[in-house]
């Protein structure tokens, strides 16, 4: 058995420290080791995006990243985006516009969308469809996901304007 590595991570603002085999994939670290089960496993080949998390300001598919590669990283999952008392506008919008059905892709979808709206605060439909193309959904046909992201973008822009 290969030697275990000493890993430190910050996940949703909390520091974690443990020993892991170098082959351990980040998604298993999150789900099995840290009990963070929001990110899901859909393909293990980077195609579906159900495991999407944010690392250092970028969307990352955690099913194809070794935890060793993430050593020292600051990671945000859906659990860190918003909860019952502080829902993110995207979480509100997905509910309001029926942007989900079975819910399996939703954590990855919303996590990706938070980054998309940071990169492009007021995206066109085309930019949303292109920017979300790494996240697969089998239920919704994407139409209401696009609508949800548009609505959240409008909401966030309005809030930003009001604040300025």
């Amino acid at each position: 058995m290969p030697k275990k590595m000493h890993i430190t991570l910050t996940v949703n603002g909390k520091e974690e420290e443990f020993l892991a085999e170098p082959r351990e994939l980040l998604i298993y670290t999150l789900r099995e080791r840290l009990n963070i089960t929001g990110p899901h496993i859909g393909c293990e080949t980077s195609h579906c995006g159900a495991c999407t998390v944010t690392i250092g300001g970028k969307s990352v598919k955690s099913c194809t990243m070794f935890v060793a590669q993430a050593d020292g990283a600051d990671i945000t999952t859906i659990e860190g985006i918003g909860g019952p008392d502080n829902l993110h506008p995207l979480q509100e919008a997905f509910k309001e516009h029926h942007g989900l059905q079975c819910g399996y892709c939703t954590p990855g979808m919303i996590t990706r969308a938070t980054k998309l709206l940071e990169e492009i605060p007021n995206p066109t439909e085309e930019e949303i469809r292109f920017g979300m193309a790494g996240n697969l959904c089998r239920c919704t046909g994407y139409q209401n996901i696009v609508k949800s992201i548009q609505a959240a973008a409008a909401e966030m822009s309005a809030a930003k304007e009001a604040a300025e």
Binding site: E21, E32, C43, H47, K95, H98, G103, Q143
Partner: protein
């Protein structure tokens, strides 16, 4: 007492049927707090995974598990030899066949389960799998069902007698060792005669390729045998938890009351999660052997290669008509590739599902259908991928035959359809292949669709485009895809629908709490359809308590009443009906309580929205909330305390949703890339419970139709290797490829359903596949195209253009 709010406001407060109530499921899903099977963690839980066959057909000469058992963390390796003493090395399939749980001397498809490695975690299990040594002796591989019926190679020696004869199967006589059944519907001789004497006959052969439902969450389970109490708990991705409990009991011998099956949140099903898979059996056995909970979760490759393919129908049709276009007869012959075991998930008496709905929406007086099921070296399955049993195949068949007939008659395909639709006044309509369609108004729907899209204008534009193309002004062609479908869903009446002898009724049990809220439990299980939202709406309208005060619970066999689960768009037609009927039982008792409280006779009060009112004295009433409390605190002569009801609903007939779809597509002749410019979908699902959810279902079903028609397939090479085992090769559309859909509706309530609802989840898939396919084919019709097989991926579209000489 004076009302402070209006009656309309009282109706709105209920959030009952007809309103776009927001989903109650979404809070947990949007916050990452869903509870899917892979989220379940139990103390000491182990992980099981399969050694799978790399060969499609081979004899197994030895299995050596010695080295695997030395791997740190590996606790056990199960093989068929270990399961045999328990009688669990084979298991019954839903189709009356049997299937190997672990390879018993041979393998019949690539990816077949050979051994089950049980370890402390996934990594140790994977290490163990690497070290299980299996020796195979390759056998000739058959991946073509026509070849299978001619071949001397016997795939299933277990189904051939010692003298070489072929005994009958579960569905009657078999013609060849690799033959499973012949199933017929309709009248052969009269149909042959009509075809022989017809003015015009169009003949076409088409292959509806093998594909896969591929929900984003794969199949899996956690089995936990509590040896102290003798109780087995099985969590899993089960679309039919109660049926799974019965099956587990029957094959394991554990009494049913000692088995608790729980379907937690399910990440999409689409038919993939109806069947019983070797992983479930092995997990249960492994839990019994080790005394610890055992989890088994498929990876994506396992999922695509081994559990639940769909379609794989080779269909040949003959359609006869007068020269004016009135259809007189239809003949359909199918060779169905079932893979190595017949594990199709159909009602027992229907080995080809409801393929006998293949006369479609048309008044066809004479018809005949023959389906031959065949074994090949492919994975078993044969599930209904987002459709009622084999209805996608049936509707694709007839909607292609109509197009081919239109070509033969040199007629417009929209007009040909209109001319042959079953008329409104003909319902209930007894079709030539046996079904009695409950209701429909096809002409209204069709005319509305064609008018909305400006069909005449589209045809004119298309004609201009053809001219421009011929003149060298454009390299793009335009296709207008039409489809009109009739679904047959809501299986089904116990008199003719059962699975493994279990009648296909469904159920609902309601408990009203003293303070006027409620819990209702059903025999179905949501996989994204939003049952917790919509069933509460049905109840809100029926019993007059707000939907927000009603919890809906499904999927725990210890608490929910028995039901056959969710697939084939049966939840609303069957469990939805049970919900309404149970609600009416609540209302009947509540009416007696209200009458007592109001000191009038039972018949002198009537239900109005959320209350019982004394007839003729609207100011005298008791709300349902008040009645609920009274049920628990008043001693009412002749009435038991409490307010509960249960209903088991056996539907008198199927329901028959229908719809009219139009797709407008531009096709780049030089790249084969289709651009879906417009997609209009009119659905008639009867009474509409939640328009928002209906639209969502339509968007999703159409997108799965787009996938199947334009690229998604499970393909094999001649050696039986699966060529599409990952999402790299197996097409799932992204947001980038998918268009915006226009949805529309008409409402023709089901006359026999308590609330008139018909089900909608699968309609868009059933109607969508032929619509996308017809659009592609229609683009090439002016250049002599008659039929090309799906999936119409870029390469195949390019090839069609090339074969028609459009690149010259």
């Amino acid at each position: 007492m004076k009302d402070e709010i209006t009656r309309d406001e009282r109706v709105d407060n209920l959030k009952g049927m007809g309103c776009s109530r927001k989903r109650v499921e979404d809070a947990r899903f949007t916050q990452g707090k869903g509870n899917y099977v892979d989220d379940i963690k139990l103390d000491g839980m182990l992980f099981g995974d399969f050694v799978r066959s790399p060969y499609a057909h081979a004899r197994i000469t030895s299995i050596n598990t010695e080295e695997a058992l030395k791997v740190p963390g590996v606790l056990a390796v199960l093989t068929a030899a270990d399961l045999e003493p328990l009688g669990l090395h084979w298991m019954p399939t839903l189709a009356g066949d049997k299937q190997m749980v672990l390879a018993d001397g041979k393998v019949l498809f690539q990816g077949q389960e050979v051994a089950f490695v049980v370890a402390e975690d996934r990594y140790a299990a994977a290490d163990g799998i690497e070290l299980v040594e299996v020796e195979y002796e390759e056998l000739p591989v058959i991946v073509d069902p026509f070849e299978a019926l001619q071949s001397d190679v016997v795939l299933r020696e277990d189904l051939v007698a010692e003298d070489g004869s072929v005994p009958d199967g579960a569905h009657g006589a078999r013609k060849h060792p690799n033959h499973i059944f012949t199933w017929e519907a309709g009248d052969k001789d009269p149909t042959d005669q009509v075809i022989a004497e017809a003015d015009v006959v169009a003949t076409e052969s088409m292959y509806y390729h093998r594909t896969h439902p591929c929900p984003l969450e794969t199949c899996g389970c956690v089995a936990s045998m509590d040896k102290v109490n003798g109780k087995l708990t099985l969590w899993g991705t089960f679309q039919a938890p109660h049926a799974i409990r019965t099956v587990v009991s029957l094959i394991s011998g554990i009494e049913e009351h000692n088995i608790r099956v729980i379907s937690p949140d399910i990440g999409g099903g689409f038919g993939n999660k109806v069947g019983a898979y070797p992983g479930y059996v092995c997990s249960v056995v492994a839990s019994i052997v080790t005394g610890k909970p055992v989890k088994w979760i498929e990876d994506r490759m396992d999922n695509l290669m081994t559990t639940a393919f769909a379609r794989d129908y080779h269909m040949t049709g003959k359609i006869a008509a007068t020269k004016e276009g009135k259809i007189t007869g239809l003949h359909c012959q199918v060779v169905a590739d079932h893979g190595g075991f017949d594990a199709c998930a159909d009602p027992t008496k229907f080995p080809a599902g409801f393929m006998n709905i293949c006369t479609g929406s048309y008044d066809i007086p004479t018809a005949y259908l023959e389906v031959d099921g065949v074994y090949t070296n492919k994975a078993p399955g044969g599930v209904s991928y987002r459709c009622s049993f084999r209805v996608t195949e049936a509707v694709y068949f007839i909607e292609r035959m109509i197009e081919v007939l239109a070509i033969e008659l040199n007629m417009d395909a929209a007009e040909l359809r209109r001319m042959n639709f079953i008329k409104k006044e003909q319902f209930p309509y007894k079709a030539a292949l046996g079904w009695e369609y409950d209701s429909g108004d096809y002409h209204t729907a069709w005319d509305k669709a064609l008018e909305t899209v400006d069909y005449a204008g589209l045809r004119a534009e298309q004609a201009q485009r053809v001219e421009d193309f011929k003149a060298g002004k454009t390299r793009s062609l335009m296709g207008i895809g039409l489809s009109f479908f009739t679904e047959i869903v809501g299986a089904g009446p116990v008199k003719n629908c059962d699975i493994l002898g279990l009648g296909m009724f469904d159920s609902c049990e309601i408990r009203i709490h003293p303070t006027g809220s409620a819990i209702a439990r059903l025999g179905t299980i949501s996989q994204g359809q939003g049952h917790a939202t919509t069933f509460a709406q049905i109840l809100a309208t029926e019993i007059g308590l707000p939907a927000d005060s009603i919890t809906i619970e499904e999927g725990d066999t210890d608490t929910a009443p028995y039901g056959l689960g969710t697939y084939g768009s049966r939840s609303t037609p069957v469990a939805g009906a049970a919900t309404a009927m149970a609600g009416r039982k609540i209302r009947a008792k509540a009416q007696m309580i209200a009458a007592y409280l109001l000191e009038v006779h039972d018949n002198d009060v009537e239900f109005d929205v959320d209350r019982f009112v004394v007839k003729g004295a609207p100011e005298r009433f008791k709300t349902m909330k008040e009645v609920a409390f009274a049920a628990y605190n008043q001693a009412i002569p002749g009435l038991e305390p409490g307010l509960e009801a249960v209903s088991y609903y056996d539907p008198p007939n199927m329901t028959y949703p229908f719809g009219a779809y139009v797709c407008v597509m531009d096709i780049d002749v030089d790249t084969g890339v289709p651009d879906i410019r417009r997609f209009y979908a009119l659905d008639d699902c009867g009474t509409r419970i939640n328009p928002m959810i209906i639209e969502g279902q339509v968007h999703g079903g159409l997108t799965e139709a787009l996938a199947v028609s334009l690229g998604q397939e499970i393909a094999y090479d001649d050696m039986g290797n699966v060529k599409t085992g990952t999402l790299m090769d197996f097409f799932l559309p992204t947001a980038w490829e998918v268009p915006n859909y226009e949805t529309d509706h008409t409402v023709t309530p089901s006359p026999h359903h308590p609330i008139g609802a018909k089900g909608v989840g699968e309609s868009p898939h059933v109607g969508g596949v032929p619509c996308f396919s017809n659009a592609v084919q229609d683009a090439f019709r002016p250049f002599g195209n008659r039929h090309t097989n799906m999936p119409h991926d870029h390469w195949r579209i390019w090839k069609t253009a090339n074969e028609l000489g459009l690149h010259e």
